[in-house]
Subunit: 395 residues, 2 copies
């Protein structure tokens, strides 16, 4: 019989997108839906970087270098220097989105059957890339009560087996918004050095920190071979559709291996490399404006959530996500109900049930992730809906 | 010890790019190098499709749908209808280059340890994607004497084991330029139906056929579940840097699986989808012009090659590659020598040694691939160099 692969069957569907048909049906009924479910920012892409593409004047849309244009890699090294990360252009491989950097890292560092430890809840697509690479995800718990801080070192050591090859963190975190402290990053370094592991640090949200400062994995010293930075311009410049990311490491044998993966797929997208290169020249205050807008939204959503009876939302230190526990038995059912059976003055909201972000079945059933990618007026309207919805749902 | 993966070690380096340092050194010595080694066309990308991107006026570079913009998929279905391929927009998943379509196909149809049969010589990056997917490539021979025609059906049947899941062909072929006949495509269909295999048909060069007409795998009837079309705009519109391809099948369970792989990496590049959509509206004679230019080049290069003593080049029916056997013991050494130790009036040429396109070690040692991506004046100059080089080399 002709069948697809087990891998194709095991590949997880996107947990964020599974409610989409219910949202579409709600819109067809004339309901306004506030989308707090997905990390697509409403912040405009800076005009001058879109113009860099629109004013380009080449005649042939050629392959770039497989590692990305050298001119862009040099510029990107300048950007990194400004955030205290000292790397050279040849320690950077430009990838097709942060997604490809994660996949390349898993493939180049791990074989089928190897294990990777990830504090849960975590970015759900790590599961997908792990299935593609045949790698086994070993989640260890972080909890909403402690605001999703790094689990104690003993939890990591309990999870480490001879098959363990890497730890993945996302800092600041998607979905929790947690910003790892310098002390926590130092602890991670000690673990990876002691146990000969790779530390994959997904820093997609680096520029969006509201409490304290960001500690990049590449700020750590004495672990050059262990550390891999996985990066993307998607959120930094509201340029998700560009599909430009970066794989950054000082480990030369890993760089050589990843370059072979990069050569197999020929090159990252050319248009968006022009945009990404121009982005490095944005005025120094560009992130201040965006960051203060996101901070205002965070302050609004966290305050509104915690004011609803039975709701708890720890204050996220970065990114543009908040996790909240709701007074419901099953957030999946509640989120579907919000779209299928509820409206308040013709409006409702779409949330991401947190269960999809946990690796351990049964965890996070009362939690949701809220992406504060809408302006404060919309956030307030959405919170009005949520408040009324919980009242109605629990009657 | 901290080590990269076996997969990372086994990943093949690009055979086309390994001579690059010698070419760079030659240029530094002031030598003009004719690049016949790589499939980067010199044909200009049509102005109107570049303008579609340059005149775009969106404010946020958003993620597209994971399967690609619906507007583009609908247009692409129109394009396919014009070449006799009847598919709907929901049978198309837009990929990041043809590369990703191949990788998705291998991952969704095959598990680690499964086997794929590919007539050799073949596009070298199939090896890389196979390593990524843990799939074993089983080459079967086609030879320069028969112009690289499809091997007899018995060769396929001898190679099929219980682990065999798919056959890959590239039509017209890279690296051989061979255009499979309707009869050969029917034979392939019979094999895949009889043995419950997938047929992956890489049709990147569909529009460049100079002898007879193109038979797409999707022209075949009665094997809808078995057939996967892997496509790209890279060569068709001289838009290699766009990174837009397509995975096309009527097999619904395969489509569902591939959509999950597509969701994990979020979306294909947005800018180039605009370009690709505009490309469907190019005037009907667009391909006539490009095709006649490539045909002129093919005629020139094949004639020149066969006029050199000891050289044999079968006439390729399509694509923009020719394979030639040379009167040398080892084409790898000869190609390096061309760059390191030879020039004719300050000029030399860069060729791709064919060994990298064979799966069986030791095959193709006297053969080279020539990409006729330069105009006829340059081709003639390069052939002058080759003629002199062989004289000198064999003295």
């Amino acid at each position: 019989m002709l069948t697809i692969s087990h891998r194709g069957e095991q590949m997880p569907p996107s947990p964020i997108r599974k409610l989409v048909p219910y949202a579409e049906a709600a819109k067809k009924r004339g309901i306004k839906v506030y989308h707090l479910n997905i990390g697509q920012p409403d912040i405009e892409t800076p005009q001058q970087i879109l113009d860099a593409v629109r004013h380009s004047d080449f005649k042939i849309l050629e392959y770039s270098h497989s590692a990305g244009n050298e001119s862009y890699r040099k510029k990107l090294a300048d950007y990194y220097a400004r955030v205290g990360i000292n790397v050279t252009s040849d320690q950077i491989i430009i990838t097709t989105g942060g997604s490809e950097a994660i996949l390349f890292g898993m493939m180049a560092c791990m074989d089928a059957g190897d294990e990777v430890i990830i504090p849960e809840p975590f970015y759900a697509n790590y599961n997908g890339f792990a299935v593609e690479a045949g790698v086994i995800v070993k989640p260890i718990g972080s909890s909403i009560e402690t605001g999703f801080a790094l689990p104690p070192i003993e939890e990591f050591e309990k999870a480490i087996t001879p098959k363990t090859k890497a730890i993945i963190i996302c800092n600041p975190n998607n979905p929790t918004g947690y910003l790892y402290s310098k002390e926590e990053m130092e602890i991670l370094k000690q673990i990876v050095v002691k146990h000969n592991l790779f530390l994959f640090s997904d820093e997609a949200y680096r520029e969006f920190c509201y409490e304290g400062t960001h500690t990049s994995a590449l700020h750590l010293t004495g672990a050059d071979d262990n550390i891999v930075l996985m990066d993307t311009i998607s959120k930094r410049y509201s340029a998700c559709g560009g599909r430009i990311g970066a794989f950054v490491t000082k480990n030369t044998s890993l760089l050589s291996a990843v370059l072979k993966f990069a050569q197999a797929r020929l090159s990252p997208p050319s248009f968006a490399q022009i945009l990404a290169e121009a982005a490095v020249d944005l005025p120094a205050d560009y992130f201040d404006t965006t960051r203060s807008e996101y901070k205002k939204r965070r302050d609004t959503i966290v305050k509104r959530l915690n004011a609803i009876p039975g709701v708890f939302c720890p204050n996220p230190g970065g990114a543009f996500y908040a996790m909240a526990s709701l007074p419901v038995d099953d957030a999946d059912t509640f989120c579907q109900w919000l779209l299928e059976s509820f409206d308040y003055n013709g409006q409702t909201l779409m949330l991401a049930p947190a269960s999809g972000f946990y690796g351990t079945p049964g965890l996070g059933k009362q939690e949701v992730r809220l992406a504060y990618v809408l302006n404060t007026t919309a956030i307030n309207a959405a919170m009005d809906c949520l408040e009324k919805a919980l009242e109605t749902y629990n009657k």
